[in-house]
Symmetry: C2
Amino acid sequence: MSLRHAALGLLADGPASGYDLLKTFDRSLAFIWPATQSQLYGELNRLADDGLIEVSNEGPRGRKDYSITEQGRAELERWITDVEPDRIRRNEALLRVFFLGTVGPAHAKAYLEREATVHEDLEALLQTVERDTDWDTSDFNRYGHLVIESGRRYAHGQAQWAHWAATQVDNLETTEAPAQTR
Amino acid sequence: MSLRHAALGLLADGPASGYDLLKTFDRSLAFIWPATQSQLYGELNRLADDGLIEVSNEGPRGRKDYSITEQGRAELERWITDVEPDRIRRNEALLRVFFLGTVGPAHAKAYLEREATVHEDLEALLQTVERDTDWDTSDFNRYGHLVIESGRRYAHGQAQWAHWAATQVDNLETTEAPAQTR
DNA sequence: CGACGACCTGTCATATCTGACATGTCAGAG
DNA sequence: CTCTGACATGTCAGATATGACAGGTCGTCG
């Protein structure tokens, strides 16, 4: 249900069409809240039906510019200040770590080092984005900058962790009787 | 589709019933890959249909103990070593940060400080778990310990970040002309 | 003027997830 | 012997998400 509020939040910064939103989306929110084109368009229609946004202008090629309504602004504020966020953090890469004992130490270490690399790459990417973006153009960008920084720290931390975890593998595997092959 | 492999991974450590798995699940994987009871039972039946696990024993109250098959073990290994994990990381709390400009500096700071507290609490919880658990009882536990450590570091980092972000709010809001109320 | 690429919105089948509900069994306490 | 709580598996409606497909428009470059 968060896509609803993501769209609302995007429109709080100014009117835009579904097409516009989709592009903004892919460059920002998609990292933290992926959604497909079909989902977004559907959600916009529902938001309009519920009076949280409205079509403020119609352009060529069937373009519809949406604007947030007073009601929509109120709902967005309510969502941010009064609704406790879901703390669900699905992580497939971390899920696999639980089962690393089944593939043997060599594979386990390789897996963890790969995780380190992936997160180092991510950190580098975010650093580049951080450097090359002009953040001071809108509230959305200014606060988006904070999110990027969060991601950068996360990537850095996970990379560190993965390196450390890789060094732990040998300890883990030799603690028990080494003949315990299964 | 990962629940499938989560169940498979759990069974790689030894036979268990759906009921058993559910309990293990809630105490471990659920933090990183939540699933409901109905999902698990359904998946077990599908896994059995596909020959990746089999009913190795039937007990009272309709209890069915499942064991992983050779085929299942192979599939688990393939999944861990050959399949690139999804890097999707949905985070509703972070999503809201993008829109903090719409609620004003006071609410924004409150939100971020609340995030700090939540993550500090999480860190404390994970520290307790880390201290009070005997990790050396199975491969699953040994590697699970690494995951807990990852979570602990994550929580710590996010808390730090949130405190820092809260201090940034005033900077962000005063950069632009202060009269920009919208 | 024709083709191409960007623009723009939508539907649909399939899969997955969630939460509630249904159904029944067994062991042990009182 | 009855009640209670843990044990144990399953179905189902409704909401969401995914990815493919469909259909059409406008500007501009050659």
